[in-house]
């Protein structure tokens, strides 16, 4: 066994110092801008807060999804890098904190919280059993609790395996993952309906949960890919992270870029074609004034560029291209969330300003600080995982 050239002797290393410094810097700068924005433009800041929540939730629950997907599909190529997803998933723990400010601005963000409006509006009063502040709050708490619970259970087993090397822990995690999948599907759907679809409370689309899901898993995958490629170039995983591993990340990213486009296009085409006013309003809003350019931008940024950027086989294997495209896709997801959220704030025209920028920087800082905190405490590689050796030796 030990004569294999790729055999892995893991010794824990500190993360690169500039990686850590960058995380802290972004966190501090972002935090200053966020706090400042609360005093300058409270409402705009609240909407940006929704964006922050949805973006960070994407990274957190999306990472959890990829962990679960690995266990369920029996994949081995991703096992050596699973810890990256596990560390990123830790951002789930701060979701309650970043969701909290929205509760002080419910009236500004959510139209359906105005009782006097709901009373006179037939549609909103019909929805009131679902769209009311107390049920909304309960749902948000339950969803985040489910995510945190499964995150905790699954990563605890994974961590325990580092020392015990017990295969039963893998078995347990597979079972937990199977239970998690239906809960995940429902929770992410209704989380998206609550926080994004209900911003325009009259509008509805059956595919909306899938739409948010497609962006979520793509963004989380991009975050994982970026960190994996960056750290593995510096030799943090094992010698011989090969093109085969990179290619798997690249191909998966490419696949999910297409999946997002497919879902987004399906939603758009069906609404455009049927031309029912109660549905088209959502797209019409995004075609007013500056929003038109913003919408065209979404197609280019979220689909055209990553599609061609990852289409060719060599580009799926090139570390440089992968790093660039992952950052691009993360930006695209933030842009997407902005495209969904902000038209409710400014109907006719909108130019992103320093407040949104501040929140974006804060999101990056927050995610990195949490990642670095976890990476400082735990092994970067699941050294006790029975699939690790197969993962290291993985060839296409």
């Amino acid at each position: 066994m030990s004569d294999s050239p790729d055999v892995f002797n893991y010794t824990k290393k500190e993360l690169p110092s500039n990686f850590i410094k960058f995380g802290y810097a972004a966190f501090v700068v972002g935090l200053v801008l966020v706090v400042l924005s609360l005093f300058v433009d409270n409402v705009r800041s609240a909407f940006s807060g929704v964006m922050l929540l949805m973006f960070v939730a994407s990274i957190g629950v999306g990472s959890l999804f990829w962990i679960v997907a690995e266990y369920l599909s029996g994949a081995v190529w991703s096992t050596p890098f699973r810890r990256v997803a596990e560390f990123l998933g830790a951002v789930l723990l701060v979701l309650p904190i970043i969701a909290l400010p929205a509760y002080f601005n419910m009236h500004d963000i959510f139209h359906w919280t105005h009782e006097e409006v709901v009373k006179t509006d037939h549609y909103l009063s019909a929805k009131a059993p679902y769209l009311n502040v107390s049920f909304f709050t309960i749902r948000t708490i339950v969803f985040i609790a489910i995510w945190v619970l499964f995150y905790f259970l699954i990563t605890r087993n994974s961590k325990l395996q580092d020392s015990t090397k017990d295969q039963n822990l893998t078995r347990k995690n597979i079972k937990l993952s199977a239970v998690f999948v239906p809960l995940f599907a429902l929770s992410i759907t209704f989380f998206a309906i609550d926080w994004l679809m209900s911003l325009e409370p009259h509008w509805f689309s059956t595919i909306f949960g899938v739409y948010y899901f497609s962006g979520t898993v793509l963004a989380a995958l991009a975050a994982i890919t970026y960190i994996v490629v960056t750290l593995s170039e510096k030799g943090y995983f094992f010698q011989g992270v090969k093109e085969d591993h990179y290619y798997s990340f690249g191909a998966l990213l490419f696949g999910f870029v297409n999946f997002w486009a497919y879902i987004a296009f399906s939603q758009f085409l069906l609404i455009w074609y049927a031309n029912l006013p109660e549905e088209t309003i959502w797209y019409l809003q995004r075609w007013e004034g500056y929003w038109m350019y913003f919408s065209i931008g979404l197609i280019i940024i979220h689909f055209v560029v990553p599609y061609f950027g990852l289409l060719a086989q060599p580009s799926k294997m090139s570390p440089k291209r992968l790093k660039f495209m992952s950052l691009w896709i993360l930006f695209a997801h933030f842009y997407d969330v902005m495209w969904i959220t902000m038209p409710t704030y400014q109907e006719f025209g909108y130019i992103p300003g320093w407040i949104e920028l501040g929140y974006a920087i804060f999101a990056i800082g927050l995610i990195l600080v949490i990642f670095n905190w976890k990476a400082g405490k735990e092994n970067l590689v699941p050294i006790g995982d029975p699939k690790l050796k197969r993962g290291i030796n993985f060839r296409l």
């Binding site: 066994m1 549609y123 239906p182 509805f204 059956t206 497919y262 069906l270 031309n275 699939k387 050796k389």
Partner: protein, 455 residues
């Protein structure tokens, strides 16, 4: 067997057969004369086919008035059957192309049959639009070309997109299937003893010599074709879903239709592959190349896609309520509790409830039980299309024109005939071509892969 060793890969092929043994095992059904059982099976399917043909003859002679279609329910059995068979035709390329791109090696035992099934199912599906146009000899006008009558198709209609999508899908699936067969034709040629067979296999093997250069080209072509086939698989059923979803009819117009139809198609297609392969592996003694593990994996996919379909049902219901739009709400309540409640609950129980039994490992690995569940899945998926088509139409916006759709004997005979048509092709396929890819099984045989000193 309950404890899997995760440090080792599960073998796809059991028993480490030699290359010659693989050749012989897979080619044996082609060498033997068909036995009595085969002729009994064939006579049953051909009889079904003929019943359908007679019903079609009546239809063309007397017209589509022989069907149950009535005024609000203008779309009846033909579209239901069309969507059903296109759905069956879905899993083939999914198993072949998408699982290939995902490097799922267990697909190699089932891919060939699934591809063949795709082709026959799409052929079966293709009959229905032709029948439904009433005068099939004029169907050539579906293809847009400048003509003396200045007749042009409506490019805005998803029904026309269907023509393009299905024919493209059929073409690419056929090429994909044939390219995969080339190395096998060569293997068959090399071992053929009869002169006629040798000539036929030689022609179809296109001069294949199993040389390294041939394989290099082959692998590249196969990968590219898989890349082409993948978006086509998705586009076909997406466009089929557009047939319904672009309308404004409650029950048809839902933005979730495209992924929901794709998941449903994969679901029913896998169930059909599983059903037929259970027979094939038993009759041809393929238990070691189509292993119980492979069947279990298929059952897991059936569970997953069945639950996705269940998710779509739930979202449709929730959104109908959430939208506050009265016709939407009426349609869904009518679906579940109206005159077609029986069809709706058949659909829900077969598609969502019974597949949940696959959560239990023992059931995933018990052949008679999984067979019954997969049969139910296909019953359920046929009823899903029936529910979508008929229940959305039968009580339209004007209560005075509400009516109940009842299929006539001609409708049922044509449906029966479609099964006859499909299974006749399947039976002929099993005796004329290798239903499992010889080359691909060799590639996943234990010891075929380069390893790092583990053996």
């Amino acid at each position: 067997m309950s404890s899997i060793d995760y440090t080792q890969e599960l073998p796809v092929v059991e028993g480490r057969p030699t290359l010659k043994e693989i050749n012989e095992l897979i080619a044996r059904p082609l060498d033997q004369k068909p036995d009595k059982k085969f002729y009994i099976a064939l006579s049953i399917t051909v009889s079904m086919l003929l019943i359908g043909a007679i019903a079609l003859g009546f239809t063309f002679y007397y017209g589509v008035g022989l069907w149950g279609n009535n005024n609000p329910v203008g779309w009846g059995f033909p579209i239901v059957n069309f969507v059903f068979w296109v759905g069956i035709g879905h899993a083939g390329t999914l198993i072949s192309a998408i699982l290939f791109l995902f490097r799922q090696r267990w697909r190699n035992g089932i891919a060939r049959f699934a591809e063949g099934m795709t082709i026959f199912a799409v052929m079966t599906a293709g009959l229905f639009p032709l029948i439904h146009v009433g005068r099939p000899w004029l169907a050539g006008y579906l293809i847009p070309y400048p003509n003396q009558h200045s007749l042009w198709v409506d490019f805005n209609s998803p029904l026309l997109w269907d023509v393009f999508a299905v024919s493209t899908y059929f073409t690419v699936s056929f090429i994909f299937w044939y390219v995969g067969l080339i190395p096998d034709f060569a293997s068959l040629r090399d071992r053929a003893t009869s002169k006629v067979k040798k000539i036929i296999y030689s022609i179809f093997s296109l001069g294949w010599r199993h040389s390294n250069r041939h394989w290099t080209h082959y692998e590249m072509v196969y990968l590219v074709l898989a890349g082409f086939a993948t978006p086509l698989v998705l586009s076909v059923h997406t466009i089929v879903s557009f047939d319904f979803a672009v309308s404004i009819l409650p029950g048809w117009h839902a933005t979730i239709f495209p992924p929901y139809f794709v998941a449903g198609a994969v679901f029913s297609g896998f169930a059909m592959v599983q059903n037929v392969l259970i027979f094939i592996r038993k009759i041809f003694n393929y238990e070691k190349i189509i292993t119980l593990d492979t069947l279990e994996r298929m059952n897991k996919i059936i569970l997953l896609t069945g639950s996705m379909v269940g998710y779509a049902y739930a979202m449709e219901f929730f959104t109908a309520w959430y939208s506050g739009v009265q016709p939407e709400q009426f349609t869904f309540i009518n679906r579940a509790f109206g005159p077609y409640a029986w069809a709706y609950w058949i659909m829900v129980s077969c598609n969502v409830l019974f597949p949940q039994l696959f959560w239990i490992r023992k059931i995933r690995r018990t052949i008679p039980v999984m067979f019954v569940i997969a049969v139910l899945v296909n019953v359920g998926m046929w009823f899903e299309r029936f529910v979508i088509t008929v229940t959305s139409l039968h009580r339209d916006f004007l209560p005075s024109s509400w009516a109940y759709f009842k299929p006539t004997i001609v409708d049922l005979a044509i449906l029966l005939g479609s099964f006859g048509f499909f299974f006749t092709w399947i039976l002929l396929f099993t005796k004329t071509l290798p239903v499992v890819s010889i080359a691909e099984i060799k590639a996943v045989n234990e010891g075929a892969q380069p390893s790092h000193g583990e053996h």
